[in-house]
């Protein structure tokens, strides 16, 4: 049994591209982007925290879109992709919450501020998706498991942009805006932010590809073991 050979060079290329992109992004963050006047050096956390948040939220929505593809086509590969994307978004979500708390401690003097809508709304999204895996693995029948998980992924995926819009429309703006109409990032900062966003997105895609390849290999191995009569 072999891992599909076509996936190996693409994984290698993706990995190299990710390492290069991360190196360039961190280089720009620490040696190119100027220090922000109000936040000082602490603002450098934003080049990590905000791209992680954007990529994880996009991952949750993508998981929902893949779940739609699964329900439409009944192709279990879409379910596997949806599962891996949501799984990876949750890991990125942990990083978002931790880096955000560190920034809040440095900037506001508190690890967490419950009155801040952006923080709390992200936590709600994260907790919602934290129930995805227990729900999924509570169902033994693979067919039902995939179907129920897809329905959950679609409903939760629709909730993410609604939640984001609700926060944007809310009146209190304690959290700094990085993108959008009120953004006033100067050129070097904007470039650094965009490169960091691209690097984090590439890291997400690479890790998802590794996870998918590993899962497919394990499924193939289980199947072969059964065919050969092993446990």
């Amino acid at each position: 049994m072999r891992v599909p050979s076509s996936s190996v060079p693409s994984l290698r290329t993706l990995s190299i591209a990710t390492v290069v992109a991360m190196g360039v992004a961190f280089g720009l963050v620490f040696f190119y982007a100027p220090i922000e006047l109000e936040e000082g050096f602490l603002q450098k956390i934003f080049y990590l925290h905000v791209p992680l948040a954007i990529v994880s939220l996009c991952g949750f929505v993508s998981g929902g879109l893949m779940a739609i593809a699964h329900l439409r086509t009944r192709d279990s590969r879409w379910d596997l992709r949806s599962y891996v994307t949501i799984h990876m978004s949750l890991i990125f979500g942990v990083a978002v919450l931790l880096t955000g708390s560190i920034w809040a401690r440095g900037s506001w003097g508190h690890w967490w501020v419950w009155s801040e809508p952006t923080l709390v709304s992200y936590l709600i999204v994260f907790l919602l998706y934290a129930t995805y895996q227990p729900l999924r693995f509570a169902i033994e029948d693979p067919e039902r498991q995939a179907r129920y998980a897809s329905v959950f992924a679609i409903v939760a995926g629709a909730f993410v942009p609604l939640n984001f819009l609700a926060v944007r429309l809310s009146t209190s703006y304690l959290h700094p805006r990085v993108l959008g109409g009120s953004s006033n990032l100067p050129g070097p900062m904007r470039l650094t932010f965009l490169v960091s966003l691209a690097a984090i997105a590439l890291l997400f895609v690479t890790l998802c590809s590794y996870e998918l390849t590993a899962k497919r290999t394990r499924i193939m191995l289980k199947s072969r073991s059964r065919i050969l009569g092993y446990r």
């Binding site: 220090i35 000082g40 990590l48 693979p142 590794y210 590993a214 193939m220 073991s225 092993y230």
Partner: protein, 78 residues
Amino acid sequence: MTMLIITPLADTLPSDTGSGYVAAAYIVFAVILLIYVVIMAIRLTRVERRLHELRTREVPPPPQEEPPNRQARERETV
């Protein structure tokens, strides 16, 4: 020439106490990635061991039933 390089870099270097928090945030990110990679490595080692077991065991006579197709194989629990 050196001044031409150092002067713009000086604007990017830490000048306040926020550097500890920045280091903490980036270290947390690196640690999360490291934990993920270690878990992945453990899983792949297990798969490799299982694969080795399958290769070394004697292959039994061909089974009576038809092998499941790709769709059915991937429908297993993840």
